[in-house]
Subunit: 340 residues, 2 copies
């Protein structure tokens, strides 16, 4: 067990959010404290959390269901674990929040309680897309926060995505692509064409160090040559779920082929250990979750079926992003300080 750095503010973990809440979430929060040595506070119904191994609990009597209407539930359920977790960040009682609950409600809670950084038009969900066989994923944003976007918002997403790629993955000059249906600037819908012109003009780059590589296509997302892919939240969410479904269907079919006969079964047993690193890389529990960018606080959205391991990884990323002052960096990029 690592010593706990009590000089830090805790990370607030929504104990009630996720398909496996509260048991797996609580287990993950305890492990996060013990393995990472950072303080963690749970938010939820104390009587439902079992033995928290000494973790403090911010009580919240309500639970926003995974399929509840986000806007309505956040407005009416003021004592929900999600709203209380976001308030803990706003009030300086926690340095960041993590939830595996209702994505829309997580976003709404964080937006309403933490607010945006000055100048940020809209928050965006930045999701790491693993590139099979490569170390560093591609950051896709917006992965679902805004079903409809303007070109100006997409330019801000490019800025925020570049800052995130630098702080999260240490990429000094992130390669940023605009998702379209052809590489030429004339390809795409009107939103993409307008955005391409703004991104190509280049004044958005500022201190991000980013390089705009132009339009990219769906097949480039998993390429290790690309660091950030910018798109609207409708297309981004469709892409994310298409990849999830496609990968799962393919892996299932491959495993089924392994079972063809006794000989292939034996060969499959030999190969499975060699496939484990790839499997681990594609496991969403290991990505550290998606990050809401543009808010005045760190909010990590972990996937709905998060295990304890997913919670540990999300707390780890949250801590790193707090230490790196990602929020400050986003704010300075979007609204640069006037030159002296």
């Amino acid at each position: 067990m690592t010593a706990i750095d009590t000089s830090r503010l805790p990370v607030a973990v929504d104990a009630m959010g996720g398909d496996k809440a509260p048991a797996e979430i609580v287990a993950g929060a305890i492990r996060a404290r013990d393995e990472l040595g950072v303080p963690v506070v749970l938010v939820g119904r104390p009587e439902e959390l079992g033995d928290t191994h000494g973790l403090e609990v911010i009580p919240a009597s309500e639970v926003i269901a995974m399929d509840a209407d986000p806007g309505k539930s956040v407005r009416t359920m003021k004592d929900s674990s999600l709203v209380r977790a976001a308030e803990a960040v706003r009030d300086g009682k926690a340095c960041a929040m993590v939830s595996a609950g209702n994505t829309g409600a997580t976003m709404a809670s964080a937006l309403l309680r933490m607010k945006r950084v000055p100048g940020a038009a809209r928050p965006a969900i930045a999701t790491p897309i693993p590139c099979p066989g490569a170390d560093i994923p591609t950051v896709l944003l917006d992965a679902g926060a805004n079903a409809e976007c303007s070109a100006e918002w997409l330019v801000q997403f490019a800025q925020m995505g570049a800052v995130y790629a630098r702080h999260r993955y240490g990429i000094a000059a992130p390669k940023v692509g605009l998702l379209s249906i052809g590489e030429e600037p004339t390809k795409g819908n009107s939103l993409v064409k307008e955005t391409h012109a703004l991104l190509a003009e280049g004044s958005w780059i500022g201190s991000t160090g980013a390089e705009f590589v132009g339009n990219v296509e769906g097949r480039d997302i998993m390429s290790p040559d690309l660091d950030v892919v910018v798109t609207d939240g409708f297309t981004g969410n469709v892409v994310l779920k298409t990849l999830e479904g496609g990968m799962r269907a393919l892996v299932r079919a491959i495993l089924a082929s392994f079972g063809t006969n006794a000989e292939t079964k034996a060969a499959g047993d030999v190969l499975l250990p060699a496939l484990l690193p790839l499997y681990g890389q594609l496991d969403p529990d290991n990505t550290g979750g998606a990050m809401l960018l543009g808010l005045n606080g760190v909010c990590i959205i972990s996937h709905g079926s998060s295990s304890a391991t997913a919670v540990v990884n999300a707390v780890k990323v949250a801590t790193e992003m707090v230490d790196a002052d990602l929020v400050g960096a986003v704010a300075r990029t979007i609204r640069p300080e006037p030159a002296e």
Copy 2:
């Protein structure tokens, strides 16, 4: 060699279109005639086609490059193989056209020469998406013809997709889903919400026998439970290329895992034959190509790197769709005959 049914009109194959044109295309056209027993005519520069094994050639002196501007090239290159192939269908010299060339130019040639069936607002590209391990693919449309769509067009795409699923795959009651970012009717962008209301209302179904299953998500596309997925051409093309890229990246990483050491190499050699059926199912050469729906003629778009096998499969699908009078069925569905 199968006897050739000379009572049929030939399928016109654009000999100049595709990364491997003309050699692979000509080889595929010869094989299609010999293996399927249907007449085939090549369209292109006779002097560049080599030995055509007796296939007739419709001469065309110009070639539209793979990366040429579609609208401009079709307007200015009237003696191009693509334009001449579409004219052969229009003029009753061929029953269908097949091209592995510039997709946009194929669509523009077919649209300008064959025209739309009465009432069809826009042609759509219908692409079969293989469902790993299942026999019948999911038809995705529009896979890229229209970067911007109206809700009314998407309703026609649902009709045309259902007719296609029935004629191509024999599905009597095709399950049609609308691609969105959540299953609830309130989820999605404004185009999807408007389209959902029109599709749910149901008067479009007519004689298609289709069932509207509501919004579907990216992860459902490769599900064998779904027959047709409707979306705008921007989202559809992004989805198509995302799946292509994702599958390729995953397969490459899996094969790399096989090479970890001598033991896994040996196991991989045992497993590769068991994986071949899956590999074959995902190989775009085997899908028979994408089909342009809504035109007054059969036009198959084969993928750019088509091999001879891809051409054979495209000619086969073209022939089947002519025999099934797909064009007539689409026309009757979109604009039903008035009741007596």
